[in-house]
Symmetry: C2
Subunit: 349 residues, 2 copies
């Protein structure tokens, strides 16, 4: 077993040890490691480089972080009841966007999915191990407001996704999309065929503020038509394929098949489409169906679903960029960033 192998179990090589081996001061090694190569002679530079590689030295970031009071990492807190929170395409995109941007800038993303009840005791909240926090909250208005208050008290720069909030003079930035407006566009689109009955599909679990606004927009859009349709709002439990289909089955049993089904996401819309098709109705002739948050897999369903695309990846990347800018300049350049949306005409309406 060589020296190099032994390091796994033995103590790590420190800057000082490299310095001794290279017969220079720790400062010189530090300068080398940090790329300040001009601060030393050619000869010293080579000696240090050689010893670093021979001893297989790695910088200890804990020590560096302490000294510099910067952690070089950003926390991403995702409040959700489901352990598979990441499976949501929207969340996935936000995380990927943020993570990639941070990585490019030498930062890391600390990912933490957390149940609403564990929120207050999350390490990201009780101790300082990041330079800033990003959060995707869930729960009803009161719960989310409480979560925001908790996060404010942490005393770190904070970015929240999909919340309309009064940022006041706090160190907070809100990144969201225009939910009401996109819902309205979808509502108007459906209203063009003058449906007399419409069913909304939403999930009671993990209700986001965004979804509520989105539905209000859909109502406004639908009511802009000449004849105002009858609107029923259906709770699909977890929003899973099976929950959605069984909720809709019950709804249809009592009220019949509606003229339009508008879901707050594509997954529920597709579950509804298949159920309605299985009962012999055709889409869009008999029933119009719309989704939301267009995700890649919606192409697997037929007919192609009419939906709204949100730039979730860009929102995550932008969050990272704003956070880094905030860390450099001392304040957020914008307190609220609203992203545009894109209407996607499919064949389901």
């Amino acid at each position: 077993m060589t020296d190099t192998d032994r390091q796994t179990s033995a103590k790590r090589v420190t800057l000082k040890q490299v310095a001794i081996a290279a017969e220079v001061s720790p400062m010189t090694v530090s300068n080398f490691v940090n790329g300040h190569h001009h601060l030393m002679s050619e000869e010293v530079r080579e000696r240090v480089a050689h010893e670093i590689s021979r001893l297989n030295y790695r910088r200890n970031d804990a020590a560096r972080n302490l000294r510099q009071s910067r952690l070089l990492s950003i926390g991403m807190l995702i409040v959700d009841n489901s352990p598979t929170y990441l499976a949501d395409g929207y969340t996935t995109q936000i995380v990927a966007g943020a993570s990639n941007h941070l990585t490019d800038q030498g930062f890391s993303l600390l990912l933490q999915g957390i149940r609403p009840n564990d929120f207050e005791t999350s390490p990201l909240v009780t101790s300082i191990r990041t330079d800033g926090l990003c959060a995707l909250l869930s729960g009803d208005d009161d719960q989310r407001l409480a979560q925001i208050e908790t996060l404010k008290k942490v005393g770190q720069p904070l970015i929240v996704f999909l919340e309309s909030l009064n940022t006041g003079d706090h160190d907070i930035c809100s990144i969201r999309q225009n939910e009401f407006e996109s819902g309205r566009v979808m509502g108007e689109h459906v209203a063009r065929n003058n449906p007399s009955s419409v069913v909304f599909l939403s999930a009671s679990d993990n209700r986001w503020a965004a979804v509520v606004e989105r539905m209000q927009g859909m109502v406004a859009g639908l009511e802009s038509g000449t004849d105002k349709p009858r609107i029923a709002s259906l709770d699909c439990g977890s929003g899973s394929f099976d929950d959605t289909q069984s909720a809709l089955t019950a709804q249809i049993a009592s009220d019949g098949i509606p003229d339009a089904i508008m879901a707050v996401n594509d997954q529920m819309a597709i579950a509804a489409m298949q159920m309605v098709q299985a009962r012999g109705a055709s889409i869009p002739e008999d029933v119009q169906v719309t989704g939301f948050n267009a995700f890649d897999f919606r192409r697997y369903a037929q007919p192609e679903l009419t939906s709204i695309r949100s730039p979730a990846y860009e929102m995550g990347a932008r969050a990272a960029a704003e956070m880094l800018n905030r860390l450099n300049t001392g304040s957020f350049s914008e307190k609220e960033i609203v992203f545009p949306f894109e209407f996607l005409q499919g064949h389901s309406t």
Copy 2:
């Protein structure tokens, strides 16, 4: 603006400041913060609690980490060319499983998606900011082997996913599934209908070792039948919906529609199904189609796809558990963990 508000911009409150305010020693405050409440009198306990909350104290983990030489975080390195690497359902599940388990144990997951070319310069590789590393590699055999060598030299406990490797006496654990065997099962299943021509669908981007073994298994399974079918292997570029369909279009133009299409994942299988259906062929009567790595969204396709389910979430969770155990005991209890798979009979075969 109160004192509490000001902390955002001002210096953080330290343990020492709390100690002074509560008129005790820093050690006592430290003991309180770490839950050693029995080490102090009721009266002191309350005074400390009060000052901590009044001053809004948060523990500085950088200092704690340095002192204790533990970082309380595990790195997850995902080597991939695509910035949306997380969109892959399999990856997502592994990350979610690991993240949740770590969070429950007070650890954080440091997520880093990285392009193969940037691998050597990743902060997770060049410095120490985690207690251990997990990695999902990609590239051809040589590239992945080089990645593993690089990771070994970091000198941290290492868990790699989906690699068959010679762990030797290194501090490495491999977590994978029996790819060959699951491919063989799928091959035998298809062989039962005695196809005379079979097309394999795989992606040249992000080729995993796992996929190669899987395809070898499929060949072995197919050749177990009485008549050995003609097998063509088709490269679908990125593996995206469009790339898959255009690759398959070209293939069919030259060789006609095969009796069976076997994809290395569900996404490509569904893209193929839709294309074949659009050309008037019916599934499974005219063409059998199989997928792999059953993911949630495959229910959106019709007919339901025959696939193999892998316990990706559990594999991620297990990785976290093994890593924590390794950190506690000093060595991995098992160097290689092979997970079972589940054959899912759909209506596409």
